[in-house]
Amino acid sequence: MSQAEGIYALWLREFKVFTRERSRVVTSIFTPLLWIFVFGGGLGSAVNIGDVNYQVFVYPGILAMSVLFSSVFFGVYIVWDRKIDILKEVLVAPLSRTSIFVGKVLGGCTDSMIQAFVMLLISFGVGVYLSPSAFLLAILILFFMALSLVSTGLIIGSLMESPEGFNMIISFLVFPLFFFSGALFPLDNLPFWLAAITYIDPVTYGVDGLRTVTIGISRFPLYMDLAVLAVFATVMFTIGTRAFERMT
């Protein structure tokens, strides 16, 4: 396959950029830590959900949050690459648009998974003990999430004309996906309107799956979480390749 090396080079570029922008890595891990230890720890001192402490309960939610934010941002970031001509250099290379998309997605997933891995190591700090199989399942779920959300970000990035719309994406996409996912609260006994929206939010199934494998609390069966995530990833990936075909 003649495009394989091109895809590898695209991935390599993203990986090098990621490892060199250390401040970005540190920042992206710092915010989730605040959530877990300050928000989770603070609320946890007074609140239990069922018979688990709130800090433990919120941990898988924050895990999902860190992947959600870093993945979508990675994708939308190509708006800047387009504004200056870095992306153009790749677009005129003899690479198919699908290859460019795949290379970018792999790069974004790598970034997100490195962060997810660090976040998983922190589990011991909040008293969540993961078995090797739970760890691997969590990685699988987080990977599906990264795959679909990086694709989503890239689709938006390929459609956006200028970086000015960036804040809108945060307010109207990333935060709603996060808040409606049940990352911060249990999904049982929600008012009907809220429950309805959480069921539509694909991130809900990521959070639920992570909660199932890390702390044993679940709303849906694990196979259902995985199935929804797999479908979401496939759909977004497919739309993404189309969106890149059309991008100029």
Partner: protein, 323 residues
């Protein structure tokens, strides 16, 4: 195959404007061809279509014999491009940038390193190859981009405003590289510029374009010849121009500030006559017609030069009167 690039009624229409309007040109192999025109004339749009980044709304073109609509992948493999905007990765080293490019353009693994060494040598960046590009000066970045464009030995090289915003010394260097490439490697080069000197110095042929249309296309010398001769700049006490119009060799008389500007056939031969008519003068200057004069005579407008930092338009006429 004789022509490296041929365009057939190549057209690009944006919503309410025609950026490139039925462009027809044939660029020979090994030629340095210049697209000269003011900002917004459609130069970059034309290049973008030839590089297959932008789809034409009408017509087509061939590059190295490949159709830009039907065989974009073959076109891309055979061309090198240096964009107007900087497009190297700041956070990577010079060599890393080149290595990624080599992989994207499928330069075989065995010769990759040798080729990278070669182009680094050519543009004189070998000693800085392992520094991050963000530590490079503007001229070094431009040279790196040029090196990158040459890495896969393209048959045709596109240069979009290759020396925009560079200092005169760096410009001179880049011009030398470009001339060298054309001579030693017989590369076809298509460049856009709004610097007259650049087009004049480098190009075998020039197309002057304005508002998406080719106004005239010829060798710089012939274009200048077509202006009707040399330019004689006089500073006299009187602004009476009628007297000069009676001289046979004078084809055009203009007034600019304190100066009377004459277009004269074989000025060196007729200077005596002109000076007699002029009477008492403070200064006189003769120079061959520049491409600015050409542009002026075909479009009635002057080309405005923009400095690299953007925004500050500066009239090339100033240079003419100061020189």
């Amino acid at each position: 195959m004789e022509n490296a690039i041929e365009t057939f009624d190549l057209t690009k229409r944006f919503k309410d404007l025609i950026a490139v309007d039925h462009l027809n040109a044939k660029i020979k192999q090994g030629e340095i061809f210049g697209l000269l025109g003011p900002n917004g004339a459609g130069k970059t749009t034309a290049i973008s279509m030839l590089c297959t980044i932008l789809r034409p709304t009408g017509g087509t073109a061939t590059v190295n014999g490949y159709d830009i609509l039907k065989e974009p992948d073959d076109v891309r493999k055979s061309i090198g491009i240096v964009f107007q905007q900087p497009s190297v990765d700041d956070i990577l080293t010079g060599r890393e940038n080149l290595r990624l490019h080599a992989m994207w353009y499928r330069v075989p693994k065995e010769i990759r390193d040798t080729r990278i060494d070669e182009v680094l040598e050519l543009v004189g960046l070998k000693s800085r190859q392992h520094s991050l590009v963000k530590t490079y000066s503007g001229g070094m970045r431009r040279r790196l981009e040029l090196a990158r464009g040459l890495l896969h030995l393209p048959k045709v090289l596109f240069l979009d405003e290759p020396t925009l915003g560079l200092d005169p010394q760096t410009r001179e260097h880049i011009w030398e590289y470009i001339e060298d490439l054309s001579e030693k490697r017989e590369m076809t080069i298509l460049l856009t510029t709004h610097y007259m000197e650049e087009a004049d110095r480098l190009c075998d042929r020039i197309a002057i374009i304005d508002q998406g249309k080719i106004i005239v296309m010829d060798a710089p010398e012939s274009l200048k010849h077509a202006v009707g001769g040399d330019i004689v700049c006089l500073k006299t006490g009187s602004s009476d121009t009628e007297r000069f119009k009676k001289i046979d060799s004078v084809s055009k008389v203009e007034v600019e500030d304190d100066y009377i500007i004459l277009t004269v056939r074989n000025a060196s031969e007729h200077l005596q006559e002109i000076l007699q008519v002029a009477g008492k003068i403070e200064s006189v200057e003769i120079r061959p017609a520049s491409l600015n004069d050409v542009f002026l005579s075909y479009t009635g407008k002057e080309i405005r030069v923009e400095t690299g930092e953007g925004g500050i338009a500066q009239r090339i006429m100033r240079e003419r009167t100061l020189r």
